[in-house]
């Protein structure tokens, strides 16, 4: 991994070298950000300044200095405190000492002017000079509502409830949308079956290759390792009882019935499900899907159906492949660790492994495939115009798919046990 990233960095460097002088200025957002802050505190020699004097039956506010963006923090804080305790008093606000003013400074003035007025104070402005007055007139026309005030504690608590409710409603709406997506797909499937020639066989075959054939190495590796793990864990326990031969039962039944389908489904969800979501998401962003709709190509028929069908066809085959590799791995480990010969292992396997276990494992395949492909395509269509949402929905798609697969597997376990299969 490290070497790979080094090579990559080298490659990028070469690219940059060829690319003349892109961004060779003293740059980096972070640095300029830090400098910016420091710079600002340094330059404001005439900081904004304010003073309050209580007079008989009223108050005088005197402001001086530069009311510009750099040095308003103190003024803001002082006025904030003042506004909280000033109600129903006549206020004289002397602004004649203000030298420079920019829109931030003027907004500060307008904000506290309005807040004082809201507090039923009568205000009198003294000494508004040319620039101050001009800026005031300019900005006043664009100030829309009353000034923003930070939320109180009670409304923060309410916001928590609000978020909770919103989250639940959006979860519910999500479910409804997913179900209607599934329904729509079923209708498309029925229509496709009525006109078998319209089915995109080429796309199905291509997806089988992409999702199935190309996934064989990783499926082989993971199921081999699962076989090794089961064999080792089992061997240690069974050795204590001297029941060496039962390692065959343990490996063959657990792998074929539960582990191979589950591991295959999880690998496929991570590998193929994420790529489905990303593919459809990008097509959505580049408006390819809209273009298809305007040309009368139903994206569900052209994009979603082939993917779902392809995965449903290829998943059982992959599970069977994983079964074989897993048992093979178990056979090796039994031979090495328990000195069980291959002949003995295979003879025991014929007795121990009823064919129904293999069938049950394979039977789960299409269901898992359907869940993974449907949820991946559904999330792909949910991608909105922003690039960020591709990443978000791809992650959601994989998490959803893995959850649904495990939930479905649990359901099958209960079902088959109750049916005594």
């Amino acid at each position: 991994m490290a070497t790979l990233s080094l090579v990559l960095i080298g490659f990028l460097d070469v690219q940059n070298g060829n690319q003349y002088t892109e961004s060779r200025y003293p740059d980096s957002l972070f640095l300029s950000f830090k400098l910016g802050k420091k710079l600002m505190n340094g330059t404001s020699s005439h900081k904004g300044w304010i003073e309050f004097i209580d007079t008989q039956g009223g108050m005088t506010i005197t402001s001086r200095g530069d009311w510009v963006i750099e040095g308003l923090r103190d003024v803001d804080r002082k006025l904030e405190q003042l506004v909280h305790k000033t109600r129903k008093v006549p206020v004289q606000w002397d602004v004649s000492g203000v030298e420079r003013v920019d829109s931030a400074g003027m907004m500060l003035f307008i904000r506290y002017y309005d807040l004082l007025v809201l507090n039923n104070c009568t205000l009198e402005i003294i000494g508004a000079k040319g620039e101050f007055d001009k800026m005031y007139r300019l900005l006043r026309q664009y100030v829309a509502g009353p000034p923003a005030v930070g939320a109180a504690l009670s409304s923060r608590l309410l916001r928590l409830l609000h978020e909770l409710g919103k989250g639940f409603v959006s979860f519910f709406m999500d479910m409804v949308a997913f179900l209607s997506f599934l329904g729509e797909n079923f209708i498309i499937l029925l229509l496709a079956l009525r006109h078998p020639l319209s089915i995109r066989y080429g796309a199905i075959v291509k997806n089988i290759e992409e999702a199935g054939v190309r996934a064989m190495p990783i499926i082989a590796l993971t199921s081999f390792l699962i076989g090794v793990v089961i064999a080792y864990q089992g061997a240690v326990q069974l050795e204590k009882f001297g029941a060496h031969i039962f390692i065959v039962d343990m490996i063959s039944i657990s792998v074929t019935r539960e582990l191979a389908p589950l591991i295959t489904a999880i690998v496929v969800a991570g590998r193929t499900g994420s790529s489905y979501t990303a593919q459809l998401g990008v097509m959505k962003i580049t408006e390819e899907i809209d273009a298809m709709r305007t040309m009368g190509f139903d994206p569900l028929h052209f994009l979603v159906l082939p993917r779902i069908v392809a995965l449903m066809i290829v998943m059982p085959l992959m599970i069977f492949f994983a079964d074989m590799v897993g048992i093979l791995a178990g056979m090796f480990i039994s031979n090495i660790h328990l000195h069980l010969s291959y002949g003995e292992f295979l003879r025991r396997l014929q007795v121990a492994l009823e064919v129904k276990h293999v069938w049950i494992g394979i039977f789960k395949g299409p269901f898992f495939a359907w869940l993974i492909a449907a949820v991946a395509c559904f999330r792909g269509f949910e991608v909105s115009k922003s690039t960020e949402s591709i990443g978000r929905y791809t992650a959601i798609s994989v998490v959803n798919a893995i959850f649904l697969v495990i939930a479905c597997d649990a359901l099958f376990s209960v079902l088959f046990t109750e049916l005594h299969i």
């Binding site: 961004s23 200025y25 963006i69 829109s103 931030a104 907004m107 500060l108 922003s386």
Partner: protein
Amino acid sequence: MSEPVITVTNVVTRFGPNLIHDHISLTVGQAEIYGLLGGSGAGKSTLMREMVMLLLPQEGEITILGTALSTISRADAAALRRQWGVLFQGGALYSSLTVAENIGITLKEYTDLSANLIGDIVAMKINMVGLPAQAAELYPAELSGGMVKRVSLARALAMDPQLLFLDEPTSGLDPVGAEAFDHLILKLRDLLGLTVVMVTHDLDSIWTIVDRFAVLGDQQVVAEGTLAEVRKNSHPIVQDFFGGARGRIRSLGAVTK
């Protein structure tokens, strides 16, 4: 003309073997709306990228607000970046932030103003560029093309810059929207005393709001000056630009007016 805000002197730009600018020079004055014109690939946007320090020219010097860009220090660069606002052609809004956050980001990062005051300033800027107040909570993906341009302008104006760089501000807008946008820029210039540099090939903008402009072509500045001055220029590129059907209609209108 008063003290120039931007001077470009003998700038040479090459992209590999392609020569883009061959010793070009121009000046932009105080509180001026300055247009950069030229056909596609004439290097207008490249020149603007050089002015905002995204690109370093191979030769020549660009001076902005009295600071030479080729020898600028980190601190000066940081200070200079706070003096200008840039509107990119595609808006370049941060897609993970709302409109209000996009506009307020420089205020939040660079100043120590309170969140309430920033909220007020942002609301005022949103209103100033002619957007409805409800737009504040939207994400860039939910905006129309015209709204994106307006938000981008509001973001460029957030820190009260002296200088505004606009890269094709009216491209992709309908004629009515484009005209409104032009008037907005004109109004802001008059009110805030901004100096505006805009890349454009919108003939209407050139006629209505641009004070002076430069026409780029053949790796050179083929003409520079006010509209009346440039139209007298007999260079073929200038003549093609104003002699085409679109240009002629405008000229006739100008004469009969």
